[in-house]
């Protein structure tokens, strides 16, 4: 090992019941480098990281840290060594303040009675938040922060440990472009200080922008570690998938001069005070209508209100020319032909206690039952149609969704809404946290649905996908519509100018 190496994980293997998660993987990271770790879902990235951070223990293989062989017994020990992890799922206590969270287990106590020096705590906390340029007050409760702000707090927390190795698992999954830029600046600062960053992301554009080196895993095996200077986008995808996939931009690209159909949904002067204001737009059959904007611009709230999950103060919703003012609840919206996949699929879409079949039919049981009795055979045949159409794996419809990969879980969530045969489908961040292969399948599916005559509202914080897929793009900022573009005239710059 050379002098620049901070740690090396050698021939690491780890098995779980029925699956070999890691097979003799060697992973070496230098001081002061940003090292990207990529691979499809199930490739073993998370397992490798969890071994390094002490959550799991390897079955075999050794870890050399700063030249010494060590045994990372538990997460606390990893942290003491200087290895911090920011997980994709946030690990904050919602009922404590930002400062309390950042210094949890690490408080500035004076010698008497473990008294916590609040002033010093808040001062120290502000230091880290300022470093991130995070617009967060150290005294606010975490529960009142947006997801993006909470993520910033998580990052500040890792900084507070003064760690030499900081692992970031999909840190930008919930951040806006602007916030991502800030994060990258921070990462560069950390790098200058000689810290090593392990950066896990599904967004290869980001990997190219921020990382120096990349390690690719596939099916629990090491494909290779290479300097990013020697690679291009296609090279990495090929390493990850083991074969060429058709570029997501070709098969799914917007068709020039495409004809759209009649108006399916019209929204007039929709207002919910303090959340969104005076919203007007219409959605046509066969149309993919993109909604762009920063996190917190009010897109999700607007869609939830249209779907009957939140009340509105003023305005009308018109479906197929009929003014229904506002839906009393999701049930009514579903009956009028609207479906909505939400941005947080585990929290709002899926039932982890259910199998595929039960998840897919939950909104359609009225039509699969007689006098309240569910007709088992009819239900099975019905579900089989969708699992085939969406190519959901495993094919066994009795498989529990908790065991499935993110991409397949998302397909189940979509299948649930296709089951109700909606004319209008609202999809809120449908590709969040899923790998390249699954993303391209979701894009194809969205394109296919619009070709079948459905109107699709597509919310995304990733500009490339919104630009490729949408026929028309609406930009929201602080609860207002600030611009509408046809696909031909939209560019990343134009959208960002309005969104920020």
């Amino acid at each position: 090992m050379n002098s620049g190496t901070i740690f090396i994980m050698k021939d690491i293997s780890k098995s779980f019941p029925g699956v070999k998660a890691l097979d003799k993987v060697t992973f070496e990271v230098d001081r002061g480098e940003v090292h990207a770790l990529v691979g499809e879902n199930g490739a073993g990235k998370s397992t490798l990281i969890k071994i390094l951070s002490g959550v799991y223990h390897q079955d075999s293989g050794q870890i050399l840290y700063k030249g010494k062989e060590i045994d990372i017994k538990n997460p606390r020990y990893a942290q003491e060594l200087g290895i911090s992890t920011i997980y994709q799922e946030l690990n904050l206590c919602p009922n404590l303040t930002v400062a309390d969270n950042i210094f949890l287990g690490n408080e500035f106590s004076s010698s008497f009675f473990n008294y916590i020096d609040e002033k010093k705590l808040n001062r120290e906390c502000k230091k880290y938040l300022d470093l991130l340029e995070a617009d967060v007050d150290s005294r606010t409760l975490v529960s009142s922060l947006s997801v993006a702000q909470q993520q910033m707090v998580e990052i500040a927390k890792a900084l507070s440990y003064e760690s030499d190795v900081i692992i970031m698992d999909e840190p930008t999954a919930t951040l806006t472009l602007h916030e991502t830029k800030k994060l990258f600046e921070t990462i560069r600062k950390l790098k200058e200080q000689g810290r090593s960053i392990i950066y896990i992301s599904h967004r290869l554009e980001e990997v190219f922008e921020i990382a120096d080196t990349v390690t690719v895993l596939k099916d629990g095996k090491l494909v290779g570690t290479k300097s990013l200077k020697d690679l291009n986008y296609i090279d990495i995808v090929r390493m990850m998938v083991g074969r060429d996939i058709e570029s997501k931009y070709i098969k799914t690209a917007h068709k020039m001069g495409k004809k759209v159909g009649k108006v399916l949904l019209e929204v007039r002067n929709l207002t919910k005070k303090g959340i969104f204001e005076n919203i007007n737009f219409s959605l046509h059959a066969c149309e993919i209508l993109g909604f762009s904007g920063l996190v917190g611009a009010g897109r999700t709230d607007l869609m939830r209100a249209i779907f009957g999950l939140e009340t509105i103060d003023e305005g009308n919703i018109i479906i197929n020319g009929k003014d229904i003012k506002q839906f009393k609840g999701p049930k009514e919206a579903i009956n009028k032909g609207i479906g909505m996949t939400s941005e947080d699929r585990k929290r709002e879409s899926l039932f982890l206690n259910f199998n595929i079949r039960e998840n897919v039919t939950i909104s359609y049981l009225d039509y699969l039952s007689k006098y309240g009795y569910i007709m088992g055979g009819t239900e099975k045949n019905f579900v089989g149609k969708f699992t085939k159409q969406l190519d959901i794996k495993p094919q066994n419809i009795e498989a529990q969704v908790i065991t499935m990969s993110g991409g397949n879980q998302q397909k189940v969530a979509i299948a649930k809404w296709l089951a109700t045969a909606p004319e209008i489908l609202i999809m809120d961040e449908p590709t969040r946290g899923i790998d390249v292969g699954a993303k391209s399948e979701i894009y194809k599916l969205i394109r296919l649905l619009s070709d079948q005559g459905k109107g699709i509202i597509f919310i995304s914080s990733e500009l490339p996908e919104i630009l490729t897929l949408s026929d028309r793009i609406i930009v929201m900022n602080k609860g207002k519509i600030v611009g509408t573009f046809m696909n031909e005239e939209a560019t990343e710059e134009k959208i960002m100018e309005l969104a920020v």
Partner: protein, 336 residues
């Protein structure tokens, strides 16, 4: 492509392994195994007094009340709620059944009035929990006190005797060779399992407890589901209270004290999750048998009531521990 097939194979292997760990199968098997061990233990220790026809019938008769109420509570707990008032409901319904029968009312009219009345009490609790969004634990704790208080106040603390023979036979009679309460419990159990597994309402109950947010987004009226589960719990408590009153020849305002703990233990031992979304009626049957056999076995062995309470507490602890560990096994390695 071979790489793909490999992945699919691994995933399906993983799925199968997980299903075995996670499903109620193992959990139920574990409890079933414990039940068999208990039966063997008591049979040997009691020197034959445990396995006799008359003792088996006694256990069955005792357990049937816990099963009837347990079916209702299983619905409640699958929606991630709880009903602590069921013990007090037994007293309340017994007392009022006796009061109604006092006026010479036919037995079936009295039973019907009590079951409908208790169903309405359940609806009240359900409305408070669902619409006013009060915690079920606190709401039913309050109702536990109120129901017991009403029963005591109405009777002045003394039992009201029942003279209607048919009503009494609900608790003491036989249908063929089998005690009437056992037959009633069997019917309730089968109907309960059918509703839980085969109907829309059952599926919605699992959905409500499994992920309430997702249930709302899916168009399920979760408030209605919650109200109905409390209705079922109240109604079945009314039925059980009437059977108990028959067995005691009276409506007794102190009946069913601590009964809620037996039933909750039974349901949890049977694998119904305290966090909602998971559970079955067969599990509740096994749980109720376990609790009943422990009480009966200890009595036969001459262990005093005080020590029985301690034993029960320890058993609840173990059951909840198993519950949590199986939950964690299900979660572990969800993302690899």
């Amino acid at each position: 492509m071979s790489g793909d097939n490999n992945t699919i194979e691994k995933v399906s292997l993983l799925v199968r392994a997980k299903e075995q760990i996670r499903g109620f199968q193992i959990r139920k098997m574990g409890v079933l195994f414990a039940l068999v061990v208990l039966i063997i233990f008591f049979s040997i220790m009691s020197g034959g007094r445990f396995i006799t026809i008359s003792n088996i019938l006694t256990v069955a008769r005792q357990v049937s009340l816990a099963i009837i109420v347990g079916v209702g509570l299983t619905f409640v707990m699958i929606t991630a709620n709880i009903d602590l008032a069921v013990g007090s409901y037994l007293a309340l319904s017994g007392v009022f059944a006796a009061a109604i029968l006092y006026y010479g009312t036919p037995w079936y009219v009295a039973l019907l009035i009590i079951m409908i009345g208790m169903a309405l009490v359940g609806v009240l609790v359900g409305v408070i929990v669902a619409k006013q969004r009060l915690n079920a634990l606190i709401t039913t704790l309050a109702m536990m006190g109120i129901a017991r208080g009403v029963a005591l106040a109405y009777t002045g603390g003394a039992p009201i005797y029942i003279k209607n023979d048919t009503f009494i036979s609900l608790g003491t009679g036989y249908i063929g060779p089998i005690p009437t309460p056992v037959v009633i419990a069997a019917v309730i159990l089968i109907v309960g399992q059918f509703i839980l597994r085969k109907t829309k309402f059952g599926r919605y109950a699992y959905a409500t407890g499994g992920n309430q947010e997702a249930a709302i987004t899916s168009g399920i009226n979760v408030d209605r589901i919650k109200i109905i589960v409390f209705l079922i719990s109240g109604m079945l408590s009314g039925l059980a209270g009437s059977i108990l009153a028959g067995r005691l020849f009276s409506g007794n305002p102190t009946a069913g004290q601590g009964f809620e703990l037996d039933v909750i233990s039974a349901v949890v031992i049977g694998g119904t999750s305290l966090f909602g979304g998971v559970g079955s009626m067969w599990g509740t049957l096994i749980g109720a048998l376990t609790v009943g056999i422990i009480a009966n076995g200890l009595t036969i062995l001459g262990v005093g009531y005080f020590y029985q309470l301690i034993a029960k507490g320890v058993i609840i602890y173990i059951a909840i521990l198993i519950d949590r560990q199986t939950q964690e096994a299900g979660m572990r390695g969800g993302r690899v």
